[in-house]
């Protein structure tokens, strides 16, 4: 990674407990990037596209996305990110959700999701999955969104 510290992790997860568990396990994996947590789609989209510290205006980021949100479907957010014109569309999106329906998984990949992970109910598996995701995040190359500005 060119500058791993500058990559913001945007977590869109309506369940506070899940968010906390995810964050704990990411930290345990040694990932110390800043994590911005949103519990609904509207504010999350607003941050991504309009906030000065958001990925659209302020460099690389990585999105952790839950599909079951109170105000909109996670797939809508995914579609908005992947069909946008700006640099945001190159932002890696990791779908992290309880849904393991094959059609839903397929749909997410069709919409451009980079990784789809089902949250295991068993905590050991869950923790392990998140830690592995952390390892994955530590080696992943995030596009330098700043390039898009030219």
């Amino acid at each position: 990674m060119n500058a791993p510290q500058s990559v913001n992790i945007v977590m869109i997860e309506d369940d506070e407990g899940h968010a906390r568990l995810i964050e704990k396990n990411i930290r345990r994996a040694g990932i110390m990037n800043p994590i911005r947590h949103f519990t609904d789609g509207t504010t999350a989209l607003d941050y991504i596209f309009n906030d000065t510290s958001g990925p659209q205006l302020n460099g690389p980021a990585l999105v952790l996305l839950d599909l079951n949100l109170p105000d909109m479907s996670g797939t809508d957010i995914l579609a908005k990110i992947k069909t946008s014109d700006g640099p945001v569309k190159r932002t890696p999106v990791v779908v992290l959700t309880t849904t393991d329906d094959s059609r839903e998984i397929q749909r997410c990949y069709d919409l451009g999701a980079n990784v789809y992970i089902t949250k295991p109910v068993n905590y050991e598996s869950f923790a392990q999955a998140i830690r592995q995701l952390g390892l994955f995040l530590s080696v992943i190359q995030v596009p330098d969104l700043g390039d898009a500005h030219g």
Binding site: D15, G17, H18, L21, K24, N68, T98, T99, D101, K119, V121, N122, Y123, E124, F126, A127
Partner: protein
């Protein structure tokens, strides 16, 4: 909905009425035929009688002619006594007189009036013939004068006039008789015509009534046919509507099960996750308590020690096992609902090959338990969903392997037969069997029977039953404790294609 007309009584009444009408027609025909025969007979009789009358008349005329001829000859001889032709004529007329009279006699023997006239005629003729004989006798002696004088007698004239009168009377009697008989014949003929007309009218009426009856019956039939059709259409609509309702309700349940089981998972992740966190925290607490125990026993209270070493681990253990079980149950519901949502793909399936395939998949467990899986006879081929059928038979055979009697080598046989448009497959084992009280229960979700010494959640048979129902079939079990079990799956020959629900 149209009411069905009562068809049966109408039928019986119709049959009775038609029979009566036919009988009436036949009777009319018979009467007309009988009358025709009678009229023919009368005609024949009459013709005979007419002939008879003419014969009598002719006979009477013959006698008259002979009398006149003999008289004419007599007069001729009185004028010219020696003329032989005249004498011959006279003698011939006289000779023919007796047979002519006998002929009349023969003809009128049955008629008293005529007989009386005939008697009178004979008397008068006798008198006349006597006079003729006398004339001839006188002429033979050459006494022409006396012969002519005798002829001039008044009695002479009276005789011939009387004879003529009698003969006229006889002719008249016959004429009258014939007129009378003619009238009779005409009467009988007109009676015949009346009868024919009457018979015709009866026949026509019978025909009209039968036609009307049949027409009205046909109309009734058409009406009831229409009513039946309407009823049928109504039924079909009703069935379609109910099916739609059921399908919708089923879809609703499927969706409900899916959503509920899904949404139940989310909080479960938290419960399990934070239980694990709690365990980690508890273990560090326990370490602390142990250290305090070792270094400054006075500080640690008995309660704190118990809480850290026993209460917390126990509580966490229970939470953990319960949530794990809950997770398995939710997964089972999810799996069931997912199967209900899957579209069926009917294809021709060689069930024997399918069983063999399942046997190969389970070969390790079969040999481990010394179990033999065999197919008895030939299994009928079915058109159904392969995946569903595979799951059904796999589950049943796995169950058979799972619940064997300890120490008894397993024998699992699969047999099948066809009954009209249903196929019955039976999976029979020699395992521990199922208490008859539990035969229905074992098919319920999360319900099990017998000793709970095998892992499982009570999902397999519920899945099997759901799948069998989905394929339009049914499942039954026959078993006694310790006697093995026989599960019979009944399927339609061809599975009905279902619209899948999204």
């Amino acid at each position: 909905m149209a009411e069905l007309p009562a068809a049966a009584p109408t039928n019986r009444t119709l049959a009775r009425r038609m029979t009566a009408l036919m009988a009436l027609g036949f009777i009319a025909l018979l009467l007309v035929g009988y009358a025709a025969v009678r009229v023919m007979q009368r005609n024949e009789l009459h013709t005979g009688l007419v002939e008879h009358t003419y014969q009598v008349e002719r006979a009477v005329l013959d006698v008259r002619r002979l009398v006149e001829e003999s008289e004419a000859a007599r007069r001729g001889l009185m004028l010219i006594p020696d003329r032989t032709v005249t004498r011959t004529n006279f003698q011939r007329a006289r000779a023919q007189m007796t047979p002519a009279l006998a002929h009349i006699d023969g003809l009128v023997r049955d008629n008293p009036a005529q007989r009386r006239y005939l008697q009178g005629l004979r008397l008068q003729l006798g008198s006349l013939l006597a006079r003729q004989d006398r004339t001839l006798a006188l002429l033979a002696t050459g006494d022409q004068r006396n012969a002519i004088l005798a002829f001039a007698d008044d009695a002479e004239v009276r005789d011939i006039v009387t004879i003529r009168n009698v003969l006229d009377r006889m002719a008249q009697v016959e004429r009258r008789l014939m007129t009378h008989r003619d009238a009779e014949l005409r009467a009988s003929q007109s009676a015949f015509y009346t009868l024919i007309v009457l018979g015709g009218v009866v026949l026509a009426v019978a025909a009209v009534i039968s036609t009307l009856t049949i027409l009205s019956y046909t109309r009734d039939l058409a009406r009831s046919d229409e009513a039946l059709r309407e009823l049928n259409a109504g039924l079909e609509d009703m069935v379609a509507a109910r099916t739609e309702d059921l399908t919708r309700a089923n879809e609703e349940i499927q969706r409900f099960a899916y959503i509920v089981s899904h949404d139940l998972r989310s909080p479960l992740v938290n419960v399990m996750g934070f239980t694990a966190e709690l365990e980690t925290a508890a273990s560090s607490l326990r370490a602390l308590v142990e250290r305090v125990d070792a270094e400054a026993p006075a500080v640690a209270s008995e309660e704190a020690r118990l809480a850290a070493t026993e209460d917390l681990p126990e509580a966490i253990g229970f939470i953990r096992t319960s949530t794990q079980k809950m997770d398995r149950l939710i997964n089972a519901i999810l799996q069931l609902s997912r199967q209900g949502r899957r579209a069926l793909a009917p294809e021709k399936i060689d069930v024997a090959a399918l069983i063999q395939q399942i046997g190969e998949t389970l070969s390790h467990r079969l040999s481990e338990t010394d179990t033999v899986l065999s197919v008895q006879g030939s299994l009928p081929v079915v058109v159904s969903d392969r995946l569903a059928l595979d799951q059904i038979f796999s589950n049943l055979i796995e169950n058979a392997v799972k619940y064997l009697r300890p120490g008894v080598p397993g024998r699992i046989t699969v047999s099948g037969r066809r009954e009209r448009d249903r196929l019955h497959y039976t999976i029979r084992d020699n395992g521990r069997g199922i208490d008859p009280r539990d035969h229905q229960r074992v098919f319920d979700l999360f319900r099990r029977s017998g000793a709970q010494d095998r892992p499982g959640e009570g999902i397999g048979l519920a899945t099997v039953r759901a799948l069998v129902f989905r394929l339009g079939g049914s499942i039954d079990v026959a078993s006694e404790l310790g006697q093995g079990a026989a599960f019979t799956v009944s399927l339609p020959l061809v599975v009905a294609k279902q619209e899948l629900n999204p």
